[in-house]
């Protein structure tokens, strides 16, 4: 019979998800990473969070920066409250004991302090100095083991901070229950922080490297979406049914509309009308079926004006709670942070119609483009699991031409419906064309239709009969007869 281990919730955004519920209470962890990687922030943020949920913390340093200097830096972060220090969080230095009396005396001192302070979390900063004081690898093992043993006996969880990158076979690694590695690497001219759980006993923690950041609020971790949602977190209702695309003539082409909780990709060049179709899709939102525009390029006011020019009153819809325009004016950020924000927005408002304009913004944030397919698959899978009907846009590079660039390989694993939009030059005029390339589990008109966008809204009608080559953008009228 299996049982659940008691957890110490870290309170650090994303880290508990990574650890599948938090640190194992009473276990010992190494937090390693080069100077500046965020070890001290992670430990102190965890300490402050732990105190706020009723715990008591002992922070012991083995030669590091002075406590006062540390408090000055921590004072710039929202999570830190100096009033907690000296009571629920005790900072002590064990350096003198280490230097004068050795490792055994440090263990003795910390054991006494854990008991005296009734600490439920012990942070030891500067573990490398313990290794330097040890006469052999066995001494280091004994130190970690003794510390861990005394702490566990007192129900105290231990974090050992070290700036060395200890290898898997190191004495410290073999003795602890988990190893959390923090790092920073350059991607072009950008520095990206990362976190990796190199060892986690007692939990099916999310492996691999995940992105994180440090800002005024402290550390935030963004688990790789495809790892967090390797299986959808919930079952959708799987109710068959149709939802309107917001354009009646497009619904006709789709044999009654889009399948509920399906994902539709609109591909086309800049200016073809992808955003307009997205706005039309959202215009069908109601209080019961709210819509969310998750856009990157056009601020809300411009979208409202654009919608108004198509005959949609977005302002009123927003006021009555049937629509939200969520603008992401980001040029830098993290892919998984963005994915998490979208899911969070959808959950917060219970959105059932979502437009993402466009997938290109996600792609630009991807440090590893090879991840994109799995990322999009996880993202759309989660939205489907929430019974959300999704419309995605993708801007094709070439305005004309036979080449079609897709956001990711293996599109069928990401999207259910695929629509291609192109400018078509025919009879000395430039026209918009929409062709439905794929509809999952449904009938649809296969012939290209002309898209008309005007003050009376959006409509599609049959056109280009007797012409070929529309998908390349340069149609050729077939000779009649």
């Amino acid at each position: 019979m299996t049982h659940e281990l008691k957890r110490l919730v870290t309170g650090i955004e994303g880290l508990d998800a990574l650890l599948r519920g938090g640190l194992v209470a009473g276990a010992a962890y190494i937090v390693q990473g080069p100077p500046g990687a965020g070890k001290t922030i992670l430990a102190n943020q965890l300490a402050c969070g732990h105190v706020r949920s009723g715990g008591r913390v002992l922070v012991a340093t083995l030669l590091s920066e002075s406590h006062e200097r540390l408090f000055q830096y921590l004072g710039t972060l929202d999570f830190f409250d100096p009033a907690l220090v000296g009571d629920q969080i005790q900072f002590v230095s064990a350096f003198d004991t280490l230097e004068q009396e050795g490792l055994d005396a440090v263990v003795r001192l910390l054991r006494q302090e854990i008991a005296r302070q009734k600490a439920t979390l012990l942070v030891v900063d500067g573990v490398l100095n313990a290794r330097a004081r040890a006469e052999s690898a066995l001494d280091t093992k004994k130190f970690v083991s003794a510390l861990q043993g005394h702490a566990a006996f007192a129900g105290c969880t231990v974090l050992l901070l070290t700036s060395a990158r200890m290898e898997e076979g190191s004495p410290e690694h073999t003795m602890v229950d988990g190893v959390i590695e923090l790092g920073e690497h350059m991607v072009g001219s950008r520095a990206v922080r990362s976190i990796q759980l190199r060892k986690t006993r007692g939990s099916a923690a999310l492996s691999g490297r995940h992105e994180c950041l440090i800002d005024r609020t402290g550390m935030r971790v963004f688990p790789r979406l495809e790892s967090l949602f390797s299986h959808p977190s919930q079952h959708g209702s799987c109710t068959p049914g149709r939802v309107s695309s917001g354009v009646p003539s497009l619904d006709d082409m789709l044999d009654g509309g889009l399948a509920a909780a399906s994902v539709t990709l609109l591909m086309g060049p800049s200016g073809i009308g992808k955003t307009s179709l997205g706005l039309a899709f959202l215009s069908a939102s109601t209080k019961q079926v709210p819509g969310l525009h998750f856009g990157f390029y056009e601020p809300p006011e411009r979208l409202r004006n654009k919608a108004a020019s198509l005959g949609f009153d977005f302002r009123s819809m927003e006021q009555e709670g049937s629509l939200q325009l969520c603008w992401q004016p980001t040029t830098e950020g993290l892919l998984d942070q963005l994915g998490a924000r979208l899911i969070e927005q959808v959950d917060a408002m219970g959105a059932k119609r979502v437009v993402i304009d466009s997938l290109g913004a996600f792609s630009r944030l991807a440090m590893e483009p090879a991840r994109l397919n799995a990322f999009f698959r996880a993202l759309t899978g989660e939205l489907r699991a929430r019974d959300v009907s999704v419309m995605l846009t993708w801007e094709m590079r070439d305005i004309f031409g036979a080449e079609i660039s897709a956001p990711a390989p293996d599109l069928s694993s990401i999207v259910d419906n695929l629509m291609l939009m192109r400018f078509v030059e025919l009879d000395s005029s430039l026209r918009r064309m929409l062709s439905i390339l794929k509809v999952r589990d449904g009938q649809h008109h296969t012939s290209p239709h002309e898209l008309i966008i005007g003050t009376r809204g959006i409509s599609l009608h049959k056109a280009f009969e007797g012409a070929s080559g529309m998908l390349s953008g340069t149609a050729v009228a077939n000779p009649s007869g």
């Binding site: 100096p82 000296g86 002590v92």
Partner: protein, 117 residues
């Protein structure tokens, strides 16, 4: 020569303060927590104590309370150095309280005042 006992678990602060006081002609002894400070007082008398607040085994306030109970040390002047926890502890126990980081000249002037130099 008057002797000052510096009680601080933070090695560097004890070192820096110790050098500054020695430069001023004081003899300095050090202890890294309150327990060690009480033991040091048994070895040889001191004329003043400068103590940190947060320390293992016995903190600055606990040390001061222990000394106030002992007739031999009841009137010994004690200066408290405290950090983020500046508002903690009982000020009546101390002849002066300094928030870390403190001004060294002001500390030395206070020491001189308390020792009547």
């Amino acid at each position: 020569m008057k002797t000052i006992l510096i009680v601080d678990d933070e090695y560097l602060i004890a070192e820096i303060l110790g050098y500054a006081l020695e430069d001023e002609g004081f003899q300095v002894r050090k202890a890294s927590n309150g327990v060690k400070a009480l033991a040091a007082l048994k070895d040889a008398p001191v004329q003043l104590i400068i103590t940190d607040y947060m320390m293992p085994l016995l903190n600055g306030e606990e040390l001061a309370r222990a000394l106030r109970k002992d007739p031999a040390w009841r009137t010994l002047p004690i200066i408290l150095m405290s950090g983020a926890q500046a508002n903690q502890g009982c000020p009546d126990l101390f002849a002066a309280v300094f928030d870390k980081p403190f001004d060294m000249d002001r500390m030395i002037a206070t020491v001189r005042d308390l020792l009547g130099n």
